[in-house]
Amino acid sequence: MMGSLVAVYRRELTAYFQTPLAYVFLAVFAFAAPAFAFHIGRFFDTNRADLAPLFDYLPWLLVILMPALAMRAWAEEKDRGTLEFLMSLPIPLWASTGGKFLAAWTVAAAAIVLTMPMWIAVNYLGEPDNAAIATAYVGALLLAGSYLAIGQALSATTANQVVAFVLGAGACFLLTMAGLPLVLSVLGENAPAALSEFIAGLSALEHYDALRNGVIAVADLVYFLGLILAALGAAGVMIAEQRGGGR
């Protein structure tokens, strides 16, 4: 059974690099991440040897780019009719969703690795807390994974990749925004405190912030891994529904 997951993973990873998608994605990421850090985050002006300017803006870059990476997962299979071929193979659904997810996550990880020259640069310029930076990278990877899983789940709802992208980016945006004071203030003073707290607790940003600050808490890891598994489970259920043929 693991063999089929590995086969799907390999096929998907190759597919990313057989089209310009992965190259365009990596190039955009390699330029955009430092651009955010240098221009908006004022990387040099902070006079601090850390990567805070990078990790502050990374979630917003991921909100756009991860759904772009995940949009093809199922929408493309449906559009090209290859879903029929895939569904006729003796692959358990967890293996096809898992293989697709891991392939996209690998491309995302490669993109995140492309920001590492900045890590080297801050070590050259000063004495950063490398353990904290490593933790922040783990946070970035988990955040990217969550967005990819959500993107894949929404890709399973449509045969149109553009629709999948818009739905994915919208969902990731909402999930990221949930904990911001802006959203919580819209809820107003009328909303019960428990509700505001619950919504803030759903926010990906809130959980990412702890990791970004170098703190690894079990609750945050459970949140991200739970979110990934739940979204992939939802994708699996929707694809399994295809077998029902609208029953």
Binding site: G3, S4, A7, R80, F85, S88, P90, I91, G246
Partner: protein, 245 residues
């Protein structure tokens, strides 16, 4: 080897398949005939485990296509309607993917891949992206993927559609060559194909099974001994006849 047991499928209140039952044993080549929209592809999709029946069941080598899908599908080679394939992959990589999913690796993977490409007569096209190939080569790539793991049951939805006469002959020869060892279903619009490759024919229309018997018995249904006339008579008249219907 393959059993369709009172299969029923509805789409939005419309009965696409209505109580279709038949059995297929090793050595049989079944021609699955019917007009467009008769329910051929829907029946084949249910047999292939791609679609779950509303009621009834499908079994491959004793394994239920819904409850025991993985086991059933591992004994099946399926060429879906339109022969879908990943355009960026080469036929060689496409065939290898289907084999890897089924646990093939190393030398066995290489041997099975090359044998399937050779049997489907892909030639030099085996190394070109499927998206750049003609319709005929694309279909042969999908056919190669369906036969590569030497399955006990083959379900081929219009395997000769879009092929030129030489390619059609090649596919028919391949089916005849594999026939003794397998249970094979082919759907086709080309009625000449039935006596040429099939040992048995089923005709369905509006989701119902109208005829199940030998091509010879089908020919004998009409005074002129033509399958085409028999097909027209059955699918426009709509009364069930034949050996086992």
């Amino acid at each position: 080897m393959l059993v369709a047991d009172h299969l029923v499928k509805e789409f939005g209140g419309l009965r696409a398949v209505e109580d279709v039952s038949f059995r297929l044993e090793r050595g049989e080549v079944l021609g699955f005939l019917g007009p467009n929209g008769a329910g051929k592809s829907t029946t084949m999709r249910m047999l292939a485990g791609c679609l779950e029946p509303d009621s009834g069941s499908a079994r491959i080598a004793g394994h239920d296509c819904v409850q025991d899908r993985i086991e059933a599908q591992s004994r099946l080679g399926y060429l879906p309607e339109g022969a879908p394939a990943y355009p960026a992959m080469t036929p060689r990589a496409f065939v290898a993917f289907g084999l890897q999913v089924r646990g093939f690796s190393g030398d066995a993977l290489k041997r099975a891949t090359e044998l399937a490409l050779e049997r489907a007569r892909l030639g030099a096209a085996a190394s070109q992206p499927i998206g750049t190939l003609s319709k005929g080569y694309k279909r042969r790539a999908a056919l190669a993927a369906a036969i590569a793991h030497d399955p006990a049951v083959l379900i081929l939805d219009e395997p000769t559609d879009g092929l030129d006469p030489n390619q059609k002959d090649g596919v028919r020869a391949l089916i005849r060559e594999m026939a003794p060892e397998k249970a094979i279903i082919i759907s086709t619009h080309i009625l000449d194909e039935v006596p040429a490759v099939c040992s048995r024919a089923i005709i369905i229309a509006q989701g119902r099974l109208l005829f199940d018997g030998s091509p010879h018995a089908l020919e004998k249904l009409t005074p002129d001994g033509s399958i085409e006339t028999a097909f027209r008579l059955l699918t426009t008249g709509g009364c069930p006849v034949g050996d086992a219907a």
